[in-house]
Symmetry: C2
Subunit: 391 residues, 2 copies
């Protein structure tokens, strides 16, 4: 129970405490946790001696705090619970609560490497049917390893950043603004503690390295992607913007009721991927111009984040503080559970009604908001509005 | 003409002056330029007031210097030419020359995003024939855009770093050490000045953003890559190590005689890719256990680095200080001009003799050294030795 006004019973109650970075009217970036509709200024709190985190929270981003590791994350979380839970601290803490309406969020950490997986069986199968009709929906490797690739870390942007429609090659000799601009609703995992080059990180070590969770919208230019992606994968069709939520929910915020069983895997996987099948039971919603068009269930993902971590490092690749790996588009078995408009409109052939207008892909001015909730934890939203192409 | 002993007439003469970071017996990392067989300690030089670069050279890496931009790069280069060229400066400079034998090189800058292209027509055509015999050697998109993808920035390592043989999935249910470990001889371009999200960088602006050139060995696990790469491209088959030379040759070091004409492109390219066809005439050599096995000519690349830069940003993706983009494997038309062992041994079917042993791919203990030279400029070498798999 928190003494912070208005916070009790919402998605940002005392058991949540997600981390972000806010900028106020003075233009200074400050580490913060969200409680209700306030950002608790952690930089000021550490400067005042209310919290001890090796001065990591006095930095303009969360990088140093992420690197501290689980023991420090726990200690700071316990202290925050005291400060925001015990009314005895109200007098010293309340002046450091910044109303969210008075601050802007910026990207909370420096993204080191960004890896995007492709771990929803329903999504991969839908895409296979749309692009390779009449053939096997899944490629032969799909059930043996979590397919993934590297994305562009430098174009990961915070929720709310305008998404400028990219231009590019849509076919041979055909250059212009993307005509099939799409979303991908995903869940991302932020690495705090790095690892050593040459040493794989087993799935059991997930919580020793991963700090927390963000929502991700991996904006996709389907026409550019379709023309460019053979044989080395997506490039410019994805690299113009990847939006992440402003607030990182620490793993520690998810109680037992947030977890459920992941799908059974058949055929059996190799030993390094043989995990405990725990799935985070996030219910995602996709809002297109304020119309909820889909509700992807994260529990249906075939490959778990723990398996993704193990796979990502099994060749000896090291982790670094700030690495982000995302789940891939989250799609459930039903048409209204898909995480992309490519699937929702079946390759654009079956438009949907959005506020009375028929839509297949994104129009300039459209806004997409992704939300996700499990138990009483509400992940930070990911919102983005499409701006017209510049060239 | 430099007064530095032994430097005149070698590949690291006064007209070269490549930048790196060295660590001496005190364990401190220092920015340096190479002249002959010495590293000139730029940190100490700036501290002593011999050079002015906004204290950027007193940092433990080149990041801040890279961000300064062309005017500052030129000014520092002019000053270095004075200091190392005019014997009047010998007394104050000579104490800051560290013999290379007394220092170790570390990675000279923080790699932001790493993009790997696929821009040699001979390489793409060879790979096509090896993997898709009987079909068109080039895919339909290849001559319309420089194919590229994002690699793992966090596993870019400096020349000399051991390359541990990766383990991974070689086929369904088949896990173990890579059996087809290969090299890719490439040329990399290091971005100094970033750009703005949403604003493409035209090819004409190449020298406003790119600071210099490194040699690259993009180590590749062909069996892992072959199993994983559909449909999103290479991932673990490439992400275990990418070696770069310790010394970055600034673009300013390449005189007119270093440039030649790039291949004529047919069909014509789109306007944003229609460049001036200038090619850096680097002659690369590939040494496998001290045997020169191939000599790839960089001038044969179909897509130039200026075109790669324009393509990379045409969708609005921004550049950041430290971005690295590499050419892709450099292969000329002849079998002894190829930049990978996959091509040299035609998919492993035609082994070569290396010191009397038949070899198709890399064995543990093998060392590969890449060199490149144009006119009297010798790029920093890229060397790596293969260590046994850990799992």
């Amino acid at each position: 129970m928190t003494w912070v006004p208005g916070a009790t019973g919402g998605g940002y109650d005392l058991n949540h405490l997600p981390y972000g970075v806010v900028v106020g009217s003075d233009g200074q970036a400050r580490c913060a946790v969200r409680i209700g509709d306030f950002a608790f200024d952690l930089g000021a709190a550490e400067a005042a001696g209310l919290i001890l985190a090796g001065d990591s929270l006095r930095a303009p981003n969360l990088d140093a705090f992420l690197a501290l590791g689980p023991a420090h994350w726990s200690a700071v979380r316990a202290r925050l619970t005291e400060l925001l839970g015990d009314p005895a601290h109200r007098a010293e803490v309340e002046p450091l609560l910044l109303p969210l309406a008075t601050v802007a969020n910026v990207l909370a950490w420096t993204v080191a490497d960004y890896v995007d997986f492709y771990s929803s069986e329903n999504h991969a199968s839908n895409v296979g049917q749309i692009f390779r009709p009449g053939q096997a929906a899944l490629l032969p490797n799909w059930k043996h390893l979590p397919i993934g690739y590297h994305g562009r870390a430098g174009t990961v942007v915070v929720s709310g950043t305008p998404v400028v429609r990219p231009s590019g090659q849509r076919a041979a000799g055909d250059f212009g603004p993307c005509r099939r601009l799409d979303i991908e609703a995903e869940v991302g995992f932020v690495v705090g503690v790095g690892s050593t080059l040459g040493e794989p990180v087993p799935w059991q070590r997930f919580a020793d390295h991963v700090f927390g969770v963000v929502l991700v919208n991996d904006w996709s230019a389907r026409d550019i992607q379709a023309w460019e992606y053979q044989p080395l994968g997506p490039f410019l069709g994805k690299s113009f913007a990847t939006s992440v939520s402003a607030w990182i929910t620490p793993l520690a915020a998810f109680g037992e009721q947030a977890w459920t069983a992941a799908p059974v895997q058949d055929p059996p996987v190799l030993p390094y991927l043989d995990d405990d099948r725990r799935a985070l039971d996030l219910a995602i919603t996709v809002e297109w111009n304020e119309t909820t068009v889909a509700s992807p269930p994260f529990r249906t993902m075939y490959w778990t984040p723990a398996q993704q971590l193990a796979h990502l490092t099994v060749n000896g690749a090291n982790l670094r503080t700030g690495d982000l790996f995302a789940s891939g588009t989250v799609s459930g078995p039903e048409r209204d559970q898909v995480g992309s408009f490519l699937e929702l409109t079946w390759g654009g052939k079956e438009p949907v009604l959005v506020k009375g207008e028929e839509r297949a892909f994104l129009a300039d001015g459209d806004t997409v908001v992704l939300r996700a909730r499990v138990a009483d934890i509400e992940l930070g939203v990911v919102a983005g509005t499409v701006f017209p192409a510049q060239i």
